[in-house]
Amino acid sequence: MRLDDLIVKRSEWLRGEGPESSIAMSTRVRVARNLKGRLYFSRANKKEREETLNILFAGVKKSSFFKDALFLKVREISDTDKQFLVERHLMSREHAEDIASKGLVIEEKEIASILLNEEDHIRLQVIESGFNVLEAWKAVDNIDTDLSKHMQFDFSNKFGYLTSCPTNTGTGLRASVMLHLSALAMTSQIDGVFDAISKLGLTMRGFYGEGTEAIGDFYQISNQVALGYSEEDILDNLERIIKKIISRERETRINFLRIKKFEIEDRIQRSYGTLRSAKIITSSETIKLLSAIRLGIDLGIIKDVDIKKINEVLLLTQPAHLQKVAGKEIPPYERDIKRSDFIREKLGVA
């Protein structure tokens, strides 16, 4: 498998299927692991980092899960490709920036991937479409167990899996669900959600955009507590709270349609109209408009496209994806023109 093969394949999490997929876009579960007896990345010198990377590559190659996987050294990946991998959720921004002695393994179906020599030696992640916490965990669990047959992980009887940052110590587990919370955002209920979940050992952040910026009402909710509970209990807690948020979003959507039918239809149809007729469009405007259309599909206002296509356009119109599809580097302004062309083509506008 080569990196360029990914562009013609579709990420599993884009399927737009799976439980609650009209509100929950995708579920990601990751675990952090370190090799016993090796210095952690931030403390290791160049030589030690390079040695660790080789041990990690050799260890992962022994696992049957990664038989046909793509093994990459981050320093050998071009800038556009790195951004492409970040947009695809296969690499963290941090991992793409400080590139020395860092590795990436992408499993053939692109469901599982491993960051090597990140803050921790191993960050193993699985992404599934929709709201699928337990499925994603089962996959991570199986792969992690297999990896632990080929490498010895840093583990303490008392503290559990040892990690560079103590916020991950214990299970090393972080599960995140990406939610599309248009109605809660429109009614300003999102602040209440923020407030409530921080008290329940969870965190929430805007998905698109840096830091706390949230474009298109996509939010990612994750567990913060990783120690003192079993993986199943941590995930169960997350799942129960997210179920509540999803049902609140759904109720609010339905109420909206009852009380403000014309306003909501107007907003959605205008977004659809803009997207179908724009000649120049930025990535962030695209996300905002696609967000409205996604809502429109769920509410039955827009019937001629499906969620799967919208998810696909959402990813493929990101800057690096756009350039990969075009097969060349495109400067930002031209990208905005190219993006609108691409969207019209995808939405079947002549």
């Binding site: 016993k36 007896g37 210095l39 010895q152 008392k158 040892l162 940052c165 110590t169």
Partner: protein
Amino acid sequence: MKCEMCKKKDATVHLTEVINEKVSKLHLCEDCAKEKSEEMHAHFGLTDLLAGLMEFDAAIQEGATGEDVGVKCPSCGMTYFDFQKSGRLGCGNCYEIFSKELGELLVKIHGSNKHVGKMPFKGKEVVREQEKLQDLKNNLKALVQAEEFEKAALLRDTIKEIEDKLEGKTSSDDQNVTG
């Protein structure tokens, strides 16, 4: 709505900050939001949060010398002071060396410092044996206190056996990893 920072452009980004459970909102244009976001990254990272949890010892913070700073991890050379500055540990052995401090910190972060979840395939057996060993050692103490020396002597032999076995196992595991 105009941007609250430059007061010129339209506010298109709506930030919600949660500090000490207080929610404050900020409406910004994209340029100011970018600036603000960079500023927040620069001034307020995880390290600051951790430092807040760690309750700096004033003596360590102000003009501490190498000796005052205390124990160094023999494997990676890190002191607890280094960790407080960076928020990142240097190696697995740090957990052993700073066990007490980290134990307290972990409670503040997670509400607990006792792992109850999954164990790795390699080492699972070792962990179980270690747990058993600890139990036996506690029993031994009780027997000695109760002056049941004969039973204590037998138990001590059993403990010695498990310890020998464990030592062999750990070193052979290590060989597997490097080999």
